[in-house]
């Protein structure tokens, strides 16, 4: 790459000279290239690589790939000397000294906005580089744990495909030109009093951003602010409005609910409170002995979800039939709304509803009915009415003012914007952190109408589909790079503090709004801090500020409970029978369980994450029930053409046991053209089948195409039969291995030792002397009764242990690298099987079959019982993997780790080796974390406390199903768990003596329902 200016261009030496003079310290430099680590220089570098969006849209050719690699390497190089932001950030002091010790990470509390709502986080920072995300124990939505999106967000920060420069009309622009241009533009807008000026954001909960927007609207009275979140909560909000006549926010208390009814609600995984809800829900199911109690979950759902898999009674029902079910249930409960006497859908087994009503009535004030985020408002309203009728309000549910700064019907808001664009009433559109060209319902033709807007300004982290159509594209700062604030599901506010200065000079929405308000130059820090100073004008503001930053939450910001009254109008809502025209099937659109609504499409960790139950990676599929597949005459991988509302997409079929018949589930977030190198062209775009009317549930015509597609799943499926039933040979074999041991709560009470029956372990004579563990003996217990299969452990492990992403092709060959996997087994009939999730890390066997077969001693036993990998010594015979009965070892068949992309190197955990080609790797029980604590304890001359060492998977587990500790310590949690009668190991008859053991899964079915 030449740094010489092209003829006709000049390097602005005067400016560089000024920079030099202004530099606070005396600066040592080697050349102009180095000196010019300035935006101007970067612009210049970029000039060498002019972007042509049209060329990129066609995919990446070799030349482009090289160019991009070169450019990103150069830019990453320029910013490689990371620095903490100059504004003061405050580390999380609860668990560490505040001073900075080289080699020791510091943790900072911050928060991630996801769909507008906060996930409270603690972020690990090594020498100024954020490397790992964990939950913030002080944050109510987290309680110290985090979901896959939060865990994977750190990879987005370092994504080399992120937007790195200001783009003006497809060419590299620069910030100063933008400022100049905006100066002119805002003057014009001002003159017009804001007429024709529109702002489009996602759901805004940020008090500061809302404040800025309000003052901007005051400045330009004719301007309008629209909100549209692609996987937004319109239905929830409108449902509440329907029930109460105003927007209110419902906060659920699963820790007080004995009986829960989920109406197509995946509350354990989807929604702003999911992590907390999963925590509370599993706490109510924690079994320590025969006298323990469990809550009972009924799930009515159209597609297998994490929540459905946890249900004690699960009923597959088409999404469109859930309303009828809700009405029938409301009728049964005598809820104020009245179900208008509608009968329950045909799919509901006789007696089911009555038993459910009975169970709910038995637990008045201690039960919950919750409606799914994608169910129409009426279902939400009915759920509110039922909770009201059951006396749950104030007990298991309370209402607050909305969390959103300005709750609106976002679909209506977007429709209004599009209508105005179409009518030519919009001449300036500012889009902040949204990608409506991709995410807006297809019938709105957002992209088409966007072209008629005079000036289109777009701020986002990627040069995405929307950026392509905009005049100005501005790189958005990642939440780990900038300041902000955001509210959680219960209103608790967090101040977002950055951990690193923007890698690519990204800007935050705050800064762009300041520019539009004709206050250019205001930094996000100033804006956010000043806003909060205005809220806390007292003298103790500094204390307030530092405490808020330290804790990651603003004290007393949780919204107070509010009393609400069911509106009378609800009864008048007439039942809309689920309509379905002949020849079409119901389609249900959902955010993808791995990559969400598309905002994580370019995240390799999430793309490679096996989705719950299907274990599909790198693709979305049209999920159908086995019956429907049979009816359609299709099988896994057959491509069907789905047509709806004048649009059609081709999608491969995947048969999902437990899916409702005649209903297809399509996951959003795929089929993107401008996501980046990782996400481009992966899967199909299900947004094309959504309309503003039928955003989540619709109908589509299904046609076979005769084509097939290679869908890659990491696990073959085995339906485990009940005894005596004729099943496939494999199924029987799988069952005999007793990997899944399960009972109902009642059976468990009668026979607490059910998990250990017929279990035998051979402690016979051995050729080699057994190890004796005199010091620590590390072990893990995984409670399968708590595990919901949310995959958070998997991404946490990937982030902590520098695990490589291998790509679809390698996954299809069976070479994914995850150190912990979540196995899924099904039991029962195909229509509605029970699902068992089992996280499987290394078992750290005491008599490990892998150890004795290694010819070079690269896998060895530690005195503390760890089965250790010595990467340097490994020559790669792979014998250990063959001999591992649990198949938890992973091999670098090729150079899977990225050793070249500079920005990705910053993400790596410096305490963990980045593996090279030809070596075996596997779960180490996070040995780096063990050793850090051991060293600290030794320095302090004390013993290691139980719970002091927390593995990455354990740390992030929302349900705290994973417990790690010392089994030589009789009082440790793990020892106590292993003493429980539900404790069992996998394949212990092989005499492996695994250190990782499991607590058997229990269910708590209603005895009145016979299945």
């Amino acid at each position: 790459m030449s740094t010489q200016p092209k003829p006709g261009e000049t390097l602005d030496l005067v400016q560089i000279q000024t920079k030099l003079e202004r530099s606070p310290q005396k600066r040592v430099w080697r050349g102009l290239e180095e000196l010019a680590g300035t935006p101007e220089y970067r612009d210049f570098v970029e000039c060498e690589f002019p972007h042509d969006p049209r060329a990129e849209a066609k995919g990446v050719n070799r030349r482009d790939a090289l160019k991009l690699m070169g450019a990103s390497a150069a830019l990453a190089g320029l910013t490689a000397c990371t620095k903490l932001p100059t504004e003061k950030i405050v580390p999380y002091a609860q668990q560490q000294p505040e001073d900075f010790v080289p080699g020791h990470p510091l943790f900072y509390a911050t928060a991630m906005p996801l769909g507008g709502y906060a996930s409270g986080l603690l972020v690990e920072s090594h020498m100024g580089r954020p490397t790992k995300v964990e939950g913030n124990p002080s944050h109510p939505a987290s309680l110290g744990t985090a979901n896959i999106f939060a865990q994977a967000s750190v990879l987005n920060l370092y994504d080399p495909d992120r937007a790195q420069v200001v783009v003006y009309r497809g060419r590299i622009g620069d910030w100063s030109t933008f400022l100049t241009s905006m100066d002119q533009l805002t003057a014009e807008i001002m003159a017009r009093k804001g007429e024709g000026f529109r702002i489009l954001t996602g759901t805004v909960t940020s008090p500061c951003l809302a404040d800025q927007l309000r003052s901007l609207l005051a400045l330009y009275p004719q301007a309008k602010w629209h909100q549209y979140e692609s996987a937004g909560r319109d239905m929830v909000r409108e449902g509440a409005k329907l029930a109460f006549g105003e927007y209110v926010n419902a906060v659920y208390h699963f820790d007080r609910a004995e009986v829960i009814v989920a109406l197509d609600a995946d509350f354990l995984f989807v929604g702003p409170g999911a992590v907390r809800y999963a925590h509370d829900f599993s706490d109510k199911r924690r079994v320590t002995g025969p006298d323990s109690t469990m809550n009972r979950l009924y799930a009515v759902e159209s597609t297998p979800t994490i929540t459905g898999a946890m249900a004690d009674h699960r009923l597959p029902l088409r999404a469109g039939e859930v309303e009828a079910f809700a009405r029938a249930l409301a009728d049964g409960l005598g809820a104020k709304s009245a179900g208008n006497g509608i009968a329950a859908p045909a799919g509901v087994p006789a007696g089911w509803l009555a038993a459910l009503v009975g169970d709910l009535n038995k637990h008045r004030g201690a039960c919950l009915v919750i409606a799914g985020e994608h169910q129409p408002p009426i279902v939400h309203a009915l759920a509110h009415a039922m909770n009201d009728a059951l006396g749950n309000v104030g007990q298991t549910i309370h209402y607050t003012e909305p969390v959103e700064a300005n709750p609106v019907n976002e679909m209506a808001s977007l429709q209004e914007l599009v209508a105005d664009m179409q009518a030519g009433r919009v001449n300036t559109l500012l889009m902040l952190g949204v990608n409506p060209v991709y995410t807006a319902p297809a019938d709105l033709r957002f992209g088409q109408h966007l072209r008629s807007v005079g000036t289109r300004i777009h701020l986002s982290q990627y040069e995405d589909e929307t950026a392509e159509l905009c005049h100005w594209h501005l790189p958005e700062a990642h939440f780990l790079e900038t300041w902000g604030d955001v509210r959680a599901y219960d209103g608790t506010t967090s101040i977002i503090q950055p951990l690193i200065a923007p890698l690519y000079d990204g800007k935050s929405a705050h800064e762009i709004l300041a520019v539009m308000a004709r206050q250019p130059g205001a930094t996000a820090h100033e804006i956010v801090k000043q806003y909060w100073q205005r809220q806390n004008p007292g003298a103790d503001f500094d204390l307030f500020w530092e405490t808020s930053l330290n804790d990651g939450v603003v004290a007393n910001s949780t919204l107070a409970a509010k009393s609400v009254k069911l509106s009378a109008g609800l009864a008048g809502e007439t039942a809309k029978p689920a309509s379905q025209s002949a020849g079409t099937l119901e389609i249900v659109l959902r955010p993808d369980p791995s990559i969400g609504d598309g905002s994580f499409t370019n995240n390799g960790w999430l793309q490679e994450l096996p989705k719950p139950f299907t274990k599909l990676t790198w693709d979305n599929a049209a999920l159908v029930s086995p019956m429907t597949a049979q009816k359609l005459g299709v099988y896994n991988g057959n491509i069907v053409k789905l047509s709806a509302y004048g649009q059609s997409v081709e999608a491969p079929i995947w048969i999902a046991p437990g899916q409702a018949d005649d209903s297809l589930t399509l996951h959003l977030g795929y089929g993107r053209s401008r996501a980046g190198h990782v996400g481009n062209g992966v899967g199909f775009n299900a947004y094309l089948l959504s309309t503003s009317e039928n955003r989540w549930i619709g109908n589509a015509e299904v046609q076979k195409t005769g084509k097939t597609y290679n869908l890659v799943s990491t696990q073959h499926h085995h339906i485990m039969g009940k005894e005596g039933e004729e099943r496939e040979e494999d199924t029987v074999a799988a069952m005999q291995r007793k990997l899944v041991r399960t009972a109902t709560l009642e059976e468990f009470r009668k026979n607490p030792d059910f998990a250990r029956e017929k279990d035998y372990e051979i402690y016979g004579p051995t050729l080699y002397e057994n190890y004796s563990y005199t010091g620590n003996a590390w072990a893990m217990s995984i409670d399968l009764n708590s595990c919901i299969g949310c995959n958070a452990c998997l991404i946490a492990c990937q982030s902590e242990n520098n695990i490589a992403v291998v790509g679809k092709d390698e996954v299809s060959r069976g070479r994914e690298m995850h150190w912990i996997r979540v196995d899924a087994y099904f039991e029962g009939d195909l229509e509605n099987p029970a699902v068992y999730n089992q996280p499987v890390p290394c078992m750290h066997c005491e008599t490990a079959p892998c150890e004795y077969v290694c010819p070079v001693g690269a896998t060895v036993h530690s005195p503390e019982g760890l089965n250790e990998m010595v990467y340097n010594r490994c020559v790669g015979t792979r014998y250990c993997s063959n001999n591992c009965p649990y198949k938890v070892r992973r091999f670098n068949f090729e150079l899977f780790s990225d050793w070249t992309t500079q920005s990705l190197m910053l993400q790596r955990n410096p305490d963990v080796t980045v593996r090279s080609r030809g070596v075996m790797e596997k779960c180490s029980y996070c040995i780096q974390r063990i050793n850090r604590v051991k060293i600290a304890a030794e320095e302090a001359g004390r013993v290691i406390q139980d719970g002091e060492i927390v593995t990455a998977c354990q740390q992030t587990c929302p349900t705290q199903a994973i417990v790690f500790g010392n089994i030589n310590d009789m009082n440790s949690r793990v020892t106590k768990l292993k003493k429980q009668s539900r404790n069992y190991g996998f394949l212990t008859d092989l005499s492996t003596r695994p250190r990782t053991t499991y607590l058997a899964k229990l269910r708590n079915p209603n005895p009145e329902i016979k299945e």
Partner: protein, 460 residues
């Protein structure tokens, strides 16, 4: 098994081990002329061209493998061993026949061995060379293969001696060394003959150097005989030990389908089975092509076919016992393994293997007519070799693809580079073998002369 052969009716029927009418001179002329005087035939060039092309494919494969990694093959987790190990076991097994013929039958005083031992030994050597490649190439980091060898390094690290792979290093390297020595020592008197008969200067020098000053004095002969006998004594246990150790690679593991006490004898029998098949595959065209029917007679073919039959029966017994034990033991994993072998996704491979190794040879080799029909034997020998390769495939891949954790069950799909390595190694083997028959006497001249003398004496 060698003992009984002479007394079998067929052998007793009187086909000689050397066609009548041969004198020392005719034997020497006939064998040495192939190397020294006959023009290299177009058939040889044709065969060499194909073999060498395949050998170059092997080189290409190795290049790709070293640059990209073992990921170019179809291996994965759980099937972390694929074609490379199948090929290794197959080639090592093939080598066994040579050692058996040259060492074991020598000690058993089986004089019919003398016309086939030379090229059988060469075959052993080249097969071991091919076999030796695979364990090295299959390593994730092949350049560090020497870590498996015990040497006093500065870090004080040693191999992990409990691992059968370390035993393999000893077994295979010993085998290669002994095979090379045995073959070379056996060649010395013949090299001297070639030296004496060669006309070209270069040939005289090369053969002269290789003959190591052999003059054929009585003292030479006395020491030679002793050395050869001692080497035979050393090599004989290897017939049993090498494949036993190779079988330990599997039996020491806990994988169902590997962890079986029947493996050592069953592997040795299988090795001899495939090895004799390979000797037949090579001998039948050679005797035809070079007109060596007088030396490699129908009697030889018949005897080798009988060994095939005997070892094939042992192998069949092994299969039967494996199946029986899986059910008799009541072990759920073993039972599933056998059922999966017979009915699972690789069932076809298993049944083809049964056809190749049991049905076809066992239904034909009982008949003397077939045993004495070179064309039929040639076809059967190819079938057996294919069968033995498939047997190793079944052991390695079918056992691994569904072991303990149903969630980790996977399929194995070989890539083009898997096939390239297999056929490339066949190319290497044939290249070496063709060079051998072109430049060295493929039948031991001095031993054939001894045999002629011996037969004369018997008659006289």
């Amino acid at each position: 098994m060698g003992d009984g052969l002479e007394n079998t009716p067929a052998a007793g029927a009187g086909t000689p081990v050397l066609a009548p009418g041969h004198t020392y001179a005719t034997i020497t002329d006939k064998i040495s002329s192939i190397v020294l005087t006959q023009k290299t035939r177009w058939g040889w060039w044709f065969g060499f061209a194909i073999s060498f092309a395949l050998f170059m494919i092997l080189n290409l494969t190795i290049g790709v493998l070293l640059i990209i990694g073992v990921g170019v093959w179809g291996i994965n987790i759980p099937i972390a061993w694929g074609f490379a190990i199948v090929n290794f076991v197959w080639w090592i097994g093939i080598g066994h026949a040579g050692t058996l013929i040259s060492a074991f039958l020598l000690l058993m005083r089986q004089e019919w061995r003398q016309s086939i031992n030379r090229f059988a030994e060469a075959m052993t050597l080249f097969a071991v060379a091919c076999a030796g490649l695979f364990p090295l190439l299959h390593l994730g980091r092949p350049w560090l293969f020497f870590w498996l060898i015990p040497y006093p390094d500065t870090m004080g690290t040693w191999p992990q001696f409990r691992s059968p792979l370390v035993w393999d290093v000893f077994a295979v390297s010993t085998y290669a060394t002994i095979s090379l020595l045995f073959w070379f020592v056996g060649l010395i008197p013949d090299l001297a003959t070639l030296r004496d008969r060669a006309k070209a200067r270069l040939s005289r020098i090369v053969y002269g150097v290789l003959a190591m000053g052999w003059r054929g004095s009585a003292m030479h002969w006395e020491r030679y005989e002793m050395a050869y006998l001692l080497l035979a004594g050393l090599a004989t246990p290897l017939v049993v030990s090498v494949h036993t150790v190779v079988s330990f690679d599997f039996t020491v593991g806990i994988v169902p389908g590997w962890h079986s006490t029947i493996f050592p004898p069953y592997f040795v029998a299988g090795a001899i089975y495939s090895g004799f098949a390979m000797v037949l595959t090579l001998a039948i065209p050679l005797r035809k092509f070079y007109g060596l029917e007088d030396f490699v007679t129908i009697r030889h073919l018949d005897n080798m076919a009988k060994i095939l039959l005997a070892t094939g029966l042992i192998v069949a017994y092994g299969y039967m016992m494996e199946t029986f034990m899986a059910f008799y033991s009541g072990n759920t994993y073993d039972r599933y393994m056998i059922m999966n072998r017979m009915t699972g996704p690789y069932a076809k491979v298993y049944w083809i293997l049964i056809c190749c190794n049991i049905v076809v040879p066992m239904s034909t080799l009982w008949f003397a007519k077939i045993r004495r029909n070179p064309a039929a034997l040639f076809a059967i020998s190819l079938v057996v070799q294919a069968g033995m390769w498939l047997e190793r495939f079944v052991i390695v891949v079918t056992s691994l693809h569904r072991d303990f954790m149903p969630s980790a069950w996977r399929m194995y799909y070989p890539t083009i580079w898997d096939y390239a390595a297999l056929f490339g190694s066949i190319g290497l083997f044939l290249t070496l073998f063709l060079l051998f028959i072109r430049y060295l006497p493929m039948i031991s001249i001095f031993e054939m002369r001894g045999l002629a003398h011996h037969l004369e004496e018997k008659k006289g």
